[in-house]
């Protein structure tokens, strides 16, 4: 270290002690999806001491993340809704998954406790289409023998802000209901024919908690930390499954990653134990990086996360990628950037 850097370092340490201490760590910046933000922050914190990479991740939303990586204002972008092959080629981007999450339905029905209520995909779709409007609808009562359901209006709540959570939720509803697919479709924000919109996970959870008869959808982590009342949902094999670690892992294992951009369909996968609403979240990395060293550090960071980050992810109720998927991602890096 020559004298000038020493002086610079001392200056930085005096004005900004926190940054000064990390002056030697390799800096990388990322922006995008808010859904994986908690785990990315945790990984970033751990990676700083483990591999000396400092990650600055801004949780600005998937759409904004895509914009920023297209404009190359960050080293990597993050999105919940995967880009398709054409979009990836146009933007010269490599897409790979990092971690998965699951969605749960939350309800507020007097007398109904956690994981008691059973619902099916088509019923959920019809609730969000405004076709099933009462909790004692014959179709709901038929599969919930032994549960007394009140004659109460169903109040569906959805995310009003554009969100990857909505993307996954409507992907599932479109998968199980042809009518939902044609009338509403898939996107980060869609036009729901019924219900009321709330801002963010906390808004949806708040609405469900406050309104009797409400139903909403949130990320599992959010439902657990806030002790919300979740439901069972029927999976593709016809079994009613509870939202718990085993069913999430079963769904994650059943996904087929051998598709362009790793845009695997993890929604409504087969398997007797699979939870039907699981989704990966993605990173976008330029294939023609302006600064090769920073790009390499991004890969070094996620390589470390694949190796040592599973425990941290699980603590935050995320689902780690299966080993096969991680290997496929590493292979894709090597193909693109060389070993």
């Amino acid at each position: 270290m020559n004298r000038r850097t020493l002086l610079l370092g001392a200056g930085a340490a005096m004005t900004l002690p926190a940054i000064g201490a990390q002056a030697q760590a390799a800096q990388i910046t990322g922006a995008g999806a808010s859904f994986p933000n908690p785990v990315y922050q945790k990984w970033a914190e751990a990676a700083r001491s483990a591999i000396n990479v400092q990650v600055n991740y801004q949780s600005v939303g998937s759409g904004a993340g895509i914009n920023q990586i297209r404009n190359r204002t960050v080293d990597f972008g993050a999105t919940d809704a995967p880009l398709n092959a054409t979009q990836l080629t146009e933007g010269s981007l490599l897409q790979f998954p990092t971690v998965m999450g699951s969605l749960v339905a939350i309800v507020n029905i007097p007398g109904v406790e956690n994981d008691q209520l059973k619902l099916t995909g088509p019923i959920l779709a019809d609730i969000y289409l405004g076709k099933i409007t009462r909790w004692n609808d014959p179709r709901i009562v038929a599969i919930n023998a032994g549960l007394t359901l009140p004659n109460l209006a169903i109040a569906p709540a959805y995310r009003a802000d554009g969100s990857g959570t909505t993307f996954v939720w409507v992907s599932y509803l479109s998968d199980v209901s042809e009518e939902f697919k044609t009338r509403v479709g898939v996107g980060t924000s869609v036009r729901f024919p019924a219900g009321t919109g709330a801002r963010g996970n906390e808004g949806v959870a708040g609405t469900v908690r406050q309104v009797r008869g409400a139903i909403g959808y949130v990320e599992n982590a959010y439902a657990i930390t806030n002790r919300l009342v979740t439901t069972q949902i029927q999976n593709r094999d016809g079994n009613f499954v509870k939202p718990e670690h085993e069913t999430f892992m079963a769904a994650a294992g059943a996904a087929d990653w051998n598709v362009p951009g790793f845009a695997a369909n993890v929604v409504n996968t087969a398997g007797p134990q699979s939870w039907p609403i699981v989704a990966p979240t993605f990173i976008l990395l330029p294939t023609n990086p302006a600064d090769a060293a920073r790009s390499a550090n991004v890969r070094r960071f996620f390589d470390w996360a694949f190796k040592d980050g599973d425990r941290l992810a699980q603590e935050l109720e995320y689902i780690p990628l299966p080993q096969s998927a991680k290997d496929a991602v590493r292979a894709a890096w090597n193909r693109q950037f060389g070993a």
């Binding site: 600005v60 209006a153 802000d161 924000s189």
Partner: protein, 323 residues
């Protein structure tokens, strides 16, 4: 009219500025620059919004303004629902706020003991300083549950049964919706309207009021026959000022309006306003997309709406506040 009576003040004498007084010249030009800068900025914003929103106007034509479609999946956008929500919530808020503001202003200028006028007046002005996010959270966690549990079910069961107007009060008691948003907005704009009204009521020459009292008029008659006619134009100006704020309010509305892009007809139904829709959708709009253009076009429409309202209010307030 009154503004014709108030002649413009004579131009300040220019002889005072001696030659070589460089400081004065620099000061004058700095101030002039600041003034022009604001104008340029305003112009630049409106032009920029219009240009950025142009793709939306091109794609959907002038029908963009009244189309009630907002379907991001099909890429069909229209401003109808959010313009409707913006105007309805703002007007309802005015209807709720004006009588109360009038009461506050009248109490402070005519009825309250002198020692109480200052503290109450200051409290009203402090209400205006509460950040809107606070109103939003208060609305979401206090007002919405109260509306959902008590007020809306009662109104739905009683007023909802009425012929002709019943449809206004029907629907599920979510607690959120157009009416809740209007209620929160009314509280937010109350201090603006009340403060303006108080200021203009104080402008009424005491001799007019004393003459009326001398003729045996009651307090109410003085108010109706002297104060209101004298200040009418300015009061309307103050109301327009409140309307301007209600139109652009974002955060508090987003929390409580229900954020649904459809017109339900019921006051308790969910809706959307321009500001709220733009704030919610902006993060998930990609550069160059039609959605982003539509949001910017919405911003342009809101700008024009607010500009018209505020310009009207300045115009109406001008004569009185100058006097």
């Amino acid at each position: 009219m009154s503004q014709a009576a108030t002649a413009s003040p004579p131009a300040p004498a220019r002889t005072a500025r001696g030659a070589g007084n460089l400081g004065d010249i620099i000061f004058e030009w700095a101030c002039r620059g600041a003034g022009i800068f604001v104008l340029l900025l305003l112009g630049a914003i409106i032009v920029e919004l219009f240009i950025a929103g142009l793709p939306a106007f091109r794609a959907f034509g002038i029908g963009f303004i009244w189309s009630t479609e907002w379907d991001p999946v099909q890429e069909v956008f229209g401003a109808g629902v959010s313009i409707y929500g913006t105007v309805v919530t703002a007007v309802l808020a005015i209807l709720l706020a004006v009588p109360v503001a009038f009461g506050i202003a009248f109490y402070l200028t005519e009825l309250a003991p002198v020692w109480l006028r200052r503290p109450v007046g200051t409290a009203v002005e402090l209400l205006a300083a509460v950040p809107s996010i606070i109103y939003g959270m208060w609305g979401f966690f206090v007002i919405v549950p109260a509306f959902a549990t008590y007020i809306q079910p009662t109104l739905i069961d009683t007023l909802g049964e009425l012929p002709l107007v019943g449809f206004l009060f029907q629907g599920a008691p979510f607690g959120t919706g157009i009416f809740t948003a209007s209620f929160i907005l009314a509280i937010m704009i109350l201090p603006f309207i009340a403060a303006t009204m108080r200021d203009v009521f104080e402008q009424v020459p005491p001799v007019y009021k004393e003459s009326a009292y001398g003729l045996g008029a009651t307090t109410w008659e003085v108010m109706r026959g002297v104060v209101i006619p004298y200040t009418r134009v300015s009061v309307v100006g103050g109301i327009m000022l409140g309307l301007g704020r209600a139109l652009g309010e974002t955060m508090a509305v987003t929390f409580v309006i229900g954020n649904a892009n459809r017109i339900t007809g019921s006051l308790f139904g969910p809706g959307n306003t321009i500001a709220s829709l733009v704030a919610l959708e902006f993060g998930e709009s990609e550069t160059g997309s039609l959605k982003l253009a539509s949001l910017l076009a919405l911003g342009f429409i809101l700008f024009v709406l607010s500009f018209i309202v505020l310009a009207t209010s300045r115009y109406l307030l001008r004569s009185r506040l100058k006097a």
